[in-house]
């Protein structure tokens, strides 16, 4: 059976009755979005990898023990688990000093991007690397809303409920996050142009 044409709910039903290929398709379909969401919250590659695995162990355990009752809404459910575990980790980690390795830069630069176009690949790669840095530099409250809305596809009302703020605060944080990102990009572009076209 061609599983690519099946929706998440159908794949999940197959997985519940023991079809491992259906789980593989579900995982491949959503892995990058889930990993990106986790990474942008915890801001560390290795922690993101551990949490990604932890999230899916929880998913597998819940489904295989017959405790799954989300009625086919697979991705929002997994993203909710991912978000909760990432936020837990992030809050705990803030209570302890961060250990920075001597070659710390490689931790942040070695991740690959999902969609690397053939044309202008280097420019795109540079842009994404900058974006990764700028997103990580955003204040925690803005970065959290950005990840929840843009990658986890939560509504602003859901974000407001999950973070304990009003919907206007959630909207404001998202707006500032977007404006900050654009400003940082423009500043970088201006600095680059000045260097390139210096008199």
């Amino acid at each position: 059976m061609n599983k690519i044409n099946l929706d998440d709910g159908e794949l999940l039903s197959l997985y519940i009755v023991g079809n491992e290929e259906a789980f593989e398709e579900l995982l491949n379909r959503h892995k990058n979005r889930i990993f990106t969401s986790i990474y942008l919250i915890v801001k560390d590659r290795y922690t993101a990898e551990d949490l990604m695995q932890e999230v899916f162990i929880k998913v597998v355990r819940t489904i295989k023990s017959g405790r799954y009752n989300e009625e086919g809404k697979f991705l929002p459910w997994v993203l909710r688990i991912a978000h909760n575990l990432s936020i837990d980790y992030f809050r705990k980690s803030k209570r302890y000093p961060t250990i920075i390795m001597e070659d710390g830069s490689s931790i942040f630069n070695s991740l690959e991007f999902s969609e690397a176009p053939i044309e202008n690949e280097h420019i795109k790669q540079d842009t994404y690397n900058l974006l990764k840095l700028f997103v990580k530099e955003l204040p925690d409250s803005q970065r959290e809303v950005l990840v929840m809305r843009h990658y986890m596809k939560m509504s602003f009302q859901e974000i407001a409920d999950a973070t304990g703020v009003s919907i206007n605060t959630a909207l404001g944080r998202m707006r500032y996050a977007l404006i900050n990102l654009r400003k940082k990009f423009e500043q970088t572009q201006e600095a680059y142009d000045k260097t390139l076209y210096r008199r």
Binding site: M52, L111, F113, H150, L171, G172, R175, L178
Partner: protein, 75 residues
Amino acid sequence: MIKPFTEDDLVRFIYDEINENERLDLNESLQSNIHLRASLEQINKAKSLLEGFILKAPKDVISRILYASKNFHSA
């Protein structure tokens, strides 16, 4: 009379969280309000930067998850 729109309304607009009536009113406002149009353009630019920004989940992590699923035994 059309209600005045805020920049937060523009954020709801680009993330498709406004109703049909608001959409019509907002489109009308954008025709005449140059500042609103400029604000929309700015946040839209930022949103479009994020569109292709998806990291690749590492293969070994995916392999470990698939292995765990295949070898799961409930207690």
